[in-house]
């Protein structure tokens, strides 16, 4: 029953066009195409537009290689730099290094404590 409706109607529509409409429209559109012809610059821009999947793949590969290169340089620089050990006293802990220094110092040894 439901399919019958589609079979009965087919591709018929109630839409109509005026006599000679398509012939006249084609002429108008062809004139429009001549008057609105895009410049050669637009063609070139379109031809150079980079939106293909291949372009995205190349861009991603280039980004990964760049990251690897930057990472390698960073690693190398880190290895070449001298290691500085900085002692920072928190003020509460006993600093025995000062005692060793005092014992070793000649002038301090001569002082009458």
């Amino acid at each position: 029953m439901k399919q019958d409706i589609f079979d009965q109607v087919g591709k018929r529509t109630p839409y109509r066009v005026p006599e000679g409409f398509f012939e006249q429209t084609e002429k108008n559109l062809q004139q429009l195409a001549v008057s609105h012809r895009p410049s050669a610059l637009n063609y070139r821009r379109a031809a150079h537009r980079t939106s293909s999947p291949r372009t995205w793949l190349y861009s991603a590969a280039a980004a990964v290689l760049l990251l690897l290169a930057v990472g390698g340089v960073w690693q190398y620089v880190q290895q070449q730099m001298p290691v500085d050990v900085v002692y920072v006293s928190d003020g509460n802990s006993y600093d025995s290094s000062w005692e060793d220094f005092a014992e070793a110092d000649v002038f301090l040894d001569n002082l009458d404590w």
């Binding site: 029953m1 439901k2 409706i5 589609f6 009965q8 109607v9 591709k11 018929r12 529509t13 109630p14 839409y15 109509r16 066009v17 005026p18 398509f22 429209t25 084609e26 108008n28 559109l29 062809q30 429009l32 195409a33 609105h36 012809r37 895009p38 050669a40 637009n42 063609y43 070139r44 821009r45 379109a46 031809a47 150079h48 537009r49 293909s52």
Partner: protein, 183 residues
């Protein structure tokens, strides 16, 4: 060395591919009917058709690289028709679930170039106009234009599965609408 090719460098066949005259000749009628079924009014369809070809001419460089010419021109026509409907009847979107049909139903009955002689054909078209925009677009492209679902998905910016679902829901709704009115 990478060679950058422009339209002028392309072979003759490729230049013909991008020629606006060929596209007008080939797509004028099918695009008009597609637009007409979307905007309903003949005068509106004529304006939208002209805007569509302006867009096609403006972006014809894209077509030189486009693999699916038909889907490309139909997508432009669909977008232009939706844009037109937006300016005429509040907000219309392919994703809209709400019923935008009543202004179009009024247009159908009021348009000078609507033939009201065959009641079943008219009722069928009214049933189509009660569908949400996405279902109506998908139904028209499949039923009248007989486009494959892959192309319909590309035109409407959806998936093949969604296009198939929309088409079958639309068919069901149309037959239900007609049976309800007739009973």
């Amino acid at each position: 060395m990478i060679l950058r090719r422009t339209i002028a460098d392309k072979p003759q066949s490729a230049r013909e591919q991008c020629a606006p005259g060929r596209l007008i000749e080939r797509y004028q009628k099918p695009l008009y009917w597609h637009i007409r079924r979307m905007v309903v009014s003949h005068d509106d369809a004529e304006d939208v058709l002209q805007n569509t070809f302006l867009q096609i001419i403006e972006h014809i460089g894209d077509l030189c690289d486009a693999q699916h010419e038909r889907a490309w021109v139909y997508r432009i026509a669909t977008n232009e028709a939706l844009q037109w409907l937006r300016t005429r009847h509040e907000f219309v979107s392919l994703d809209a679930e709400d019923d935008e049909s009543s202004p179009l139903l009024n247009t159908l009955m009021a348009d000078t170039y609507t033939e009201t002689g065959d009641s079943l054909v008219l009722l069928f078209q009214q049933a189509i106009l009660t569908l949400p925009t996405m279902q109506r677009t998908v139904f028209n492209l499949r039923y009248y234009e007989e486009l494959p679902f892959e192309e319909i998905a590309a035109i409407t910016g959806s998936t093949v599965g969604a296009a198939k679902t929309n088409y079958h829901i639309a068919k069901e709704k149309i037959s239900n609408y007609i049976l309800e009115i007739r009973s």
